[in-house]
């Protein structure tokens, strides 16, 4: 898991004099030593064997490939050195860290039974829906006595049926802005993992589509095994520059069901992703789009000239226009600041949906 520590054990055998052996594994960017110590120096034992353990911290999610270990044999005074590089193979999948969210985008359509979302149809639920006259086979405990005692006959309460919802997380893999582990993709992956965890806790079904140079998907499902598969897929997410664009509107319903609520996570830097979100929204699908504020992520990386107030204002205007364009197509598009809790953006998306539903 992102932020966790792991121990890398390396065994080596030295043929020659007993001298200090420096072990330096070639570390990928996703792994870093917590105390800045990227290797170890040890004296070989009587048989020339050494066994060293390095503590590494997982900086960002992804698959870390450990391929090469450099060995450097010093003499005691540091006057002579012999060097060697040994090939190895170890892959570490670092899963994005998920936090439980209290606010989730309410789905427009519900799916299978046994959930917590009130459906349009009536049934066994807890949310009050209506009052109707009593018919045989109605349960007595559903009788609304205050209404019935007014002399119009027996009346019973009706409730909304409770259903689960289906969410499909749509991840923008066209562009990654900022420096890892604080880039837009990292924030999107963390939020996707959090959304998946929170939705699965609510007995919803969650799917995933990584939309970028290559489209990878996981059909909606639920349960711990599905959660693990989802996290593994998120860990493999990366950006691929490409001109090839696949039409998500033609995805098979088992991957992108019609009633599914689509949660798109994007830095809104690539027009192809925005166009696809608009297309899905125009189809009548329930699309919630959270656009990461990339100006906050790359504030320290931009040259001084680009940080001018006017440039930032122009960027904000252009981005605002894009969001408005998306809203015109029925997409619940909101800005999402990574420095603030994600619940704030999700609540804003809820408000946006209420505003859309008002007829005037």
């Amino acid at each position: 898991m992102e932020g966790d520590e792991l121990v890398l054990s390396i065994k080596a055998r030295v043929h020659g004099p007993a001298s200090p052996l420096e072990v330096l594994p070639a570390l990928p960017l996703a792994l870093s030593p917590p105390r800045g110590q990227r290797g170890a120096v040890q004296m070989p034992d009587a048989n020339g064997a050494i066994r060293t353990s390095l503590e590494l911290r997982c900086r960002s999610s992804g698959v870390a490939h450990l391929r090469k270990v450099f060995l450097r044999l010093w003499d005691n005074n540091g006057l002579w050195v012999a060097e060697s590089g040994q090939e190895g193979r170890a892959d570490v999948a670092i899963l994005p860290r998920a936090t439980l969210l209290r606010v989730l985008p309410e789905p427009r359509e519900t799916g299978a039974p046994f959930g917590i979302h009130p459906a349009r149809e009536h049934g066994d639920g807890t949310d009050f829906a209506d009052i109707r006259p009593f018919v045989p086979t109605d349960r007595v405990r559903r009788v609304n006595w205050p209404v019935s005692l007014r002399g119009r006959g027996l009346h019973v309460n009706e409730f909304h049926a409770e259903r689960s919802a289906t969410s499909v997380l749509l991840l923008d893999c066209f562009a990654d802005i900022g420096r890892r582990p604080d880039s837009s993709l990292d924030h999107c992956l963390r939020l996707a993992a959090s959304l998946a965890l929170s939705a699965l806790r609510r007995h919803d079904r969650v799917g995933l589509i990584e939309y970028g140079g290559s489209v990878r998907s996981l059909r909606p499902g639920s349960g711990p095994a599905h959660h693990a598969a989802l996290l593994r897929l998120l860990a493999q997410a990366s950006t691929h520059p490409t001109e090839f664009v696949q039409d998500l509107a033609r995805m098979p319903p088992r991957i992108l069901p019609w009633h599914a609520s689509i949660v798109a996570l994007t830095p809104l830097a690539d027009d192809r992703f925005a166009a696809m979100a608009s297309r899905l929204g125009a189809q009548g699908r329930d699309v919630v789009l959270l656009a990461v504020r990339t100006d906050e992520l790359c504030a320290g990386l931009m040259p001084k000239r680009a940080r001018h107030g006017l440039a930032r204002r122009l960027w904000s205007l252009e981005r605002g226009e894009r969001l408005r364009e998306l809203r015109r197509h029925g997409v619940r598009a909101v800005n999402w600041s990574p420095s603030l809790p994600a619940e704030a953006a999700l609540a804003a998306a809820q408000r946006a949906s209420r505003m859309v539903s008002v007829p005037w």
């Binding site: 330096l24 110590q37 120096v41 003499d75 005074n77 006057l79 002579w80 050195v81 012999a82 060097e83």
Partner: protein
């Protein structure tokens, strides 16, 4: 390793005023030793070399200014302390980004002690040889002989410490 180096810095700062008690010499020696200590702590080998050169210049000036020039013990001590500071700084610089095992520190300390012992013996031998040489009428012999002896000692030390390095595939990128 840091403590040993700092003790050596203090010794290097104290020795010039011991040879020639003068506030200017003491201040100059302290400044040079400060350079050495800063280079040791950073660690920065260039700073230590500058400090060591300064210390030797101050010591040489003190020898010139001193009424009595019989400071062979102080000279040997200064050489040893400079050697210790340089060795400790190089050790720290080499293994700055890696965790160092206690056995490696112990081995380095033993190697340092061995080198110091060899240096003292070599210095004593050279001094004894130089004491015996004055009868030789060849000019500059008293200077040439210690120089040749020092080179031979260094070559011997280097040869003794050389490990059997069989493979050298190339440079390793610095961490």
């Amino acid at each position: 390793m840091r403590a040993v180096g700092l003790v050596a810095c203090i010794v290097a700062a104290v020795l010039p005023p011991v040879v020639y008690a003068n506030p200017i010499v003491a201040a100059a020696a302290a400044v040079a030793a400060t350079f050495c200590a800063a280079g040791l702590l950073l660690p920065h080998l260039g700073l230590v070399i500058a400090g060591a050169a300064g210390t030797m210049l101050v010591f040489a000036s003190a020898l010139l200014a001193a009424p009595e020039t019989n400071a062979s013990v102080a000279g040997a001590l200064l050489g040893l302390s400079i050697w210790v500071v340089l060795s400790c700084t190089y050790f720290r610089q080499r293994f700055q980004a890696v965790s160092v095992d206690h056995a490696v520190r112990r081995a380095h300390a033993i190697a340092l002690a061995k080198a110091a012992l060899i240096s003292v013996v070599a210095a004593a031998l050279l001094a004894a040889t130089a004491f015996l040489v004055p009868a030789i009428p060849v000019p500059y012999a008293r200077s040439l002989l210690p120089a040749v002896g020092a080179i031979l000692v260094m070559a011997g030390v280097l040869h003794a410490h050389r490990p059997a390095a069989r493979d050298r595939p190339g440079r390793i990128p610095r961490p």
